[in-house]
């Protein structure tokens, strides 16, 4: 797997972490942190799509 492929794994896990943190924060009574978690999750997804488009010609292997 190339750095591109591993970066995609990283972005996926970072999105999962952000959204999980948001769920934790709402449950623990920190709505501000929860909203920030969701915003970060969305931002990471947008970045992921941008990154994939930008490195279209680089191999995953």
């Amino acid at each position: 797997m190339s750095l591109k492929g591993f970066h995609l794994v990283f972005v996926t896990l970072l999105t999962t972490l952000s959204l999980s943190c948001a769920a934790w924060a709402f449950d623990a009574g920190h709505p501000g942190f929860g909203v920030a978690g969701i915003a970060t999750g969305v931002l990471v997804v947008v970045y992921g799509v941008y990154f994939l488009r930008k490195l279209k010609n680089v191999s995953f292997l």
């Binding site: 750095l3 970066h7 990283f10 896990l13 972490l17 999980s20 943190c21 930008k54 490195l55």
Partner: protein
């Protein structure tokens, strides 16, 4: 003699030498950290009810460090892309950012360690427990900024969130009244032991990454002119290691800070 497959992929593996090497190394690293995560799970499920710490670590600092590492993963990737398109100036800039972010991470971690090092649990002879950060001490007295907890409510120590209702105060204690005084270092309990072991090992990996990234940013750049493709591969390899270290933190953060 020329070493084969330093830049081109070996036909049977589909990988160049260094990439095969780094993935084998990362597989061994997965086993190392996997063992520690398993140890954490076993220690946690084996802890008596109500005696596993909650709220001992700063979620804010943990979040800041997570964002720092996430950003550093992006700058590593951008440095590799800059190598691929042959933009030396951008490569130097993004690699320098990665190094700075890594050092910032280590500074925040050091602050967290220091905070635990000066945090004391003091058992008094009258049965009460004083818990807080050390302000000053001499031969006769110890002064902490914290709280006094009745001896029969020791469980309050394990959930710092439940202590919020007890006001923090500057407490001056006479040494003759102290039965036992211990900081929140690795030997304090199983939580601090596994916390310092896992985050310490992770911090060592960050430090190792800093050395490699620093070398490739500084003296290692000579290869940019002599063997550009091999140099680009080196940046990819260091990037793979860096992403692995970041991934470990993505698991460490929720496990240690949010549970």
């Amino acid at each position: 003699m020329e070493i084969p497959y330093t830049t081109t992929a070996r036909p049977d593996t589909g990988l160049y030498n260094a990439k095969l090497g780094i993935w084998l190394f990362l597989a061994s690293e997965v086993m190392l950290f996997g063992g520690l995560f398993s140890a954490y799970v076993l220690l946690r499920v084996g802890a008596p009810e109500g005696f596993w710490p909650h709220g001992w670590l700063s979620v804010t600092l943990g979040t800041v460090n997570t964002l720092i590492l996430a950003l550093s993963a992006i700058t590593t990737l951008l440095a590799w892309v800059a190598c691929k398109v042959g933009d030396f100036r951008k490569f130097k800039m993004f690699h320098a950012f990665t190094l700075l972010l890594a050092l910032t991470f280590l500074c925040v971690k050091s602050y967290e360690y220091h905070d635990k090092w000066i945090h004391y649990e003091i058992h008094l002879k009258d049965g009460r427990i004083a818990d807080g950060h050390l302000e000053e001490q001499d031969d006769q007295t110890v002064t902490i900024l914290g709280r006094i907890i009745p001896g029969d409510q020791e469980q309050l120590l394990y959930d710092l969130r439940s202590q919020k209702n007890i006001p923090k105060d500057e407490i001056k204690l006479d040494r003759s009244n102290i039965l036992k005084m211990e900081n929140y270092g690795p030997r304090h309990n199983t939580f601090t032991a596994i916390y310092f072991t896992m985050t310490g090992l992770h911090a060592l990996h960050i430090l190792g990454g800093c050395v490699v990234i620093g070398f490739l940013w500084g003296p290692g750049t000579r290869m940019w002119k002599t063997d550009h493709e091999r140099f680009t591969n080196r940046i990819e390899i260091s990037g793979l290691f860096w992403h692995f270290v970041d991934l470990v933190w993505i698991f460490l953060f929720p496990v240690l800070y949010l549970t």
